[in-house]
Point group: C2
Chain length 122, copies 2
């Protein structure tokens, strides 16, 4: 049986001065885009309502134009959507991720091939 | 005056099953290569002796061939060096980093250009 290479999970964090952009914020933006709601997007990530809002506020303050347009509602939360800036930031982050996950496949495969074969240990 | 784009700091973490490889372990490998000592490499990173050893043991166990060859010494620590596998893992990690920092420059520049201009706030 050929040795299957274990899949690599990539976590990319970009820091500009005080602002951090990583997988959590990117997935939150993607969830808002998909679900139309900050609280629903946060819930899907097992993130508290407060935490999801706080990340959105941090992103909206860190960029010149807000990334998320929202009507803060009651317990259910108002609707929310990505602005053009939000779509663009998410797309740029995903493009950077692909630099590693797709373009970097030769390196991640080479690393994977060097791992100890845990499953086959005797 | 042209707006200078704030520099992006990239943190890349690769996870294979239980093994994580990120900037801390990569810098530790680079320090061992440069300084010839696990404790000196850890000290330069403000890492405890115990933590530096623990990261090295984790890497040596996670890969099929050890990454660091060392003579565990006394308080001063014995000498240590990277094996061929260690050199290779470090080079592969740095190559993946460059996928983002160099090849990904268009994206990081585009993100930086979208940031709120904190310094110029009125």
């Amino acid at each position: 049986m050929n040795k299957d290479l274990p899949p690599a999970r990539i976590k990319l964090r970009i820091e500009f001065g005080g602002l951090r952009l990583g997988p959590g914020k990117a997935d939150l933006l993607a969830g808002i885009d998909e679900l139309g709601s900050i609280s629903a997007a946060g819930r899907r990530m097992k993130m508290s309502y407060k935490r999801a809002w706080s990340l959105v506020e941090e992103m909206n303050a860190g960029f010149a134009a807000p990334l998320v347009d929202s009507a803060r509602g009651g317990a259910g939360g108002g609707g929310a959507s990505l602005t053009d800036a939000g779509q663009r930031v998410l797309a740029l982050y995903r493009a950077l991720e692909r630099r590693v996950t797709e373009d970097g496949r030769p390196e991640t495969d080479a690393l994977a091939a060097m791992l100890a074969d845990i499953s086959g240990q005797t």
